[in-house]
């Protein structure tokens, strides 16, 4: 019985994490290029249950396999394409297909983002709205000078002096190696970025989040009910324990 209490408790904890994740998805329903996440749960490793009490000579009599609760197995990011929304601004870029912009963080590291709502800084550099420089193929910041620049479908920026710069748009062999960093950016844990091939860059568009509110609401109901079921299990185990403690020995 006591074992069951802990099993139900892991259920409640994991459901709570799942709900945290759904509320995070819903909070970012309007965030540019946001990709929904999902907490994946699985049963805890099997253990063999055996019985000593009812067997003769105190031998272990195996009963069978049992799973004692549930654990968080993975947090999966769904990189499905979001809808492109027309803004008409020259520095709003959307990647239609596979790819990420390369952003230079203040600590010198590179981060990756699909949020292409860029601006021109005071020094004329192409930056994100938070002021982080956007990098070119040679991993250098890009001087654009003015806001009205022409950017083609492959990410080449034509500058006023007639030269052109190539935006560093990269892809990853395994997208699940990317971890979210906040501020619409990702960091890569393992592996190197490769040059992105399968994309079309659209100027004057932004990619919306790929959240489907209906899916999230349904998940919310599921989680809420599953949490409730686990709570009921604990309550009924508690009742049973109460009986064992108070009524079994009564004369």
């Amino acid at each position: 019985m006591i074992r069951g209490l802990y099993t139900a408790a892991t259920g409640m904890i994991v459901q709570e994490r799942k709900m945290e994740n759904v509320s995070q998805n819903l909070a970012n329903v309007d965030t540019v290029s946001f990709k929904k996440q999902e907490v994946l749960a699985r049963a805890y490793n099997n253990v063999t249950i055996s019985n000593r009490a009812s067997s003769p000579n105190n031998r272990r009599a195996p009963i069978g396999q049992m799973q004692l609760g549930v654990i968080v197995d993975d947090i999966h990011t769904d990189f499905e394409q979001g809808v492109l929304d027309k803004t008409g601004k020259a520095l709003d870029l959307a990647i239609d297909g596979q790819g990420f912009f390369t952003i230079l963080l203040p600590n010198g590291q590179e981060a990756y983002s699909r949020d292409g709502s860029f601006a021109v800084s005071r020094d004329g550099l192409l930056t994100t709205k938070n002021g982080y420089p956007v990098l070119d193929r040679q991993l250098q910041p890009i001087y654009v000078g003015r806001e009205d620049v022409a950017i083609d479908e492959r990410g080449r920026i034509r500058l006023m002096d007639g030269t052109s710069v190539q935006l560093n748009i990269v892809d990853f062999p395994d997208l699940q190696t990317l971890n979210k960093l906040g501020e619409n950016m990702y960091r890569v844990e393992a592996g190197q970025p490769i040059e992105a091939e399968d994309f079309v860059l659209r100027q004057g568009f932004l990619e919306q989040s790929n959240i489907n509110p209906l899916d999230e609401l349904v998940k919310m109901i599921e989680i809420s009910r599953s949490f409730e079921s686990n709570q009921r299990v604990i309550q009924s185990l508690d009742d049973t324990l109460g009986k064992a403690a108070n009524e079994v020995g009564r004369l």
Partner: protein, 260 residues
């Protein structure tokens, strides 16, 4: 559960800000030279699940995946696209067709920028903006007798006065712009303040700053239909996020009821 409540709270705050900008746009649908604004969101930091005492698999423990903590407004984006011009036939009503701004003296030696060109001539012969401040211009001729002349202002901002057959060059009106227009802040009275340290460029039509049209005013560039649709979706997003708070509340209630 506290985390879910906080996530819900951050998102309600940011959605509320978006609603504020929409309301402001709708309120200024008739304001001359108004530029519509739009709130852009970003996600907040991710809390690594490995550090939080959750039953988890080996991969999760060794990785650094996390669950996010909500959203916030990254930036209020101003849309500086051209508003439609309406004809007023007033001598001192000016509209800019293009990307520049009029400069308005702020009284401390600096300037504000505006797209609202409804000026009037005061007794000292200066052009006054609707906020009561003066337009920045280079005066060639002291203007106390402007009111007797037939004033014309050309596309380059050259002010000429005609008196019978003679035509005098009176003044020129320069246009201004900055590299990062999104750094301009609205300070009311249709004025934009320039962030300290920003380079200001002065020029006219030939510098690509736009043509001045006399006798026209620029209307607000707010698209009412778009704002109303945005308002609907924003309201629904707000509702949706109140649901996650309600859910967290119910879950907390259930936890409290574990021991009856």
């Amino acid at each position: 559960m506290i985390r879910i409540l906080q996530t819900g709270r951050t998102s309600l705050n940011s959605i509320q800000k978006k609603m504020d900008t929409i309301a402001n746009n709708i309120a200024n649908v008739q304001t001359k030279g108004y530029k519509s604004q739009k709130a852009e969101f970003e996600d907040l930091v991710y809390d690594q699940i490995a550090e939080r005492g959750v039953p988890q698999s080996q991969e999760v423990r060794e990785g650094s995946q996390g669950i996010g903590t909500g959203s916030r407004v990254k930036n209020i984006n101003k849309d500086f696209s051209q508003g439609p011009l309406t004809e007023t036939k007033n001598t001192y009503d000016l509209a800019i067709e293009g990307e520049g701004f009029f400069g308005i003296e702020d009284g401390n030696g600096g300037i504000y920028l505006t797209r609202d060109g409804a000026f009037s001539l005061d007794n000292d012969g200066r052009l006054v903006h609707s906020s009561g401040r003066y337009l920045v211009m280079q005066t060639n001729l002291v203007a106390d007798h402007w009111s007797r002349l037939d004033i014309s202002i050309d596309e380059e901002g050259q002010v000429r006065g005609a008196d019978g057959n003679t035509s005098l060059s009176l003044a020129s009106i320069p246009l201004f712009t900055v590299t990062d227009k999104n750094s301009l802040t609205s300070i009311g009275d249709n004025l934009f303040a320039i962030e300290e340290g920003t380079d200001l460029y002065m020029g006219s039509l030939s510098d690509g700053l736009g043509r001045i049209r006399q006798g026209f005013l620029e209307e607000s560039n707010v698209d009412l239909t778009e704002e109303l649709v945005d308002m609907l979706t924003t309201q629904r997003a707000y509702q949706l996020n109140t649901r996650s708070i309600t859910a967290a509340d119910e879950m907390w209630g259930m936890t409290n009821n574990l021991r009856r």
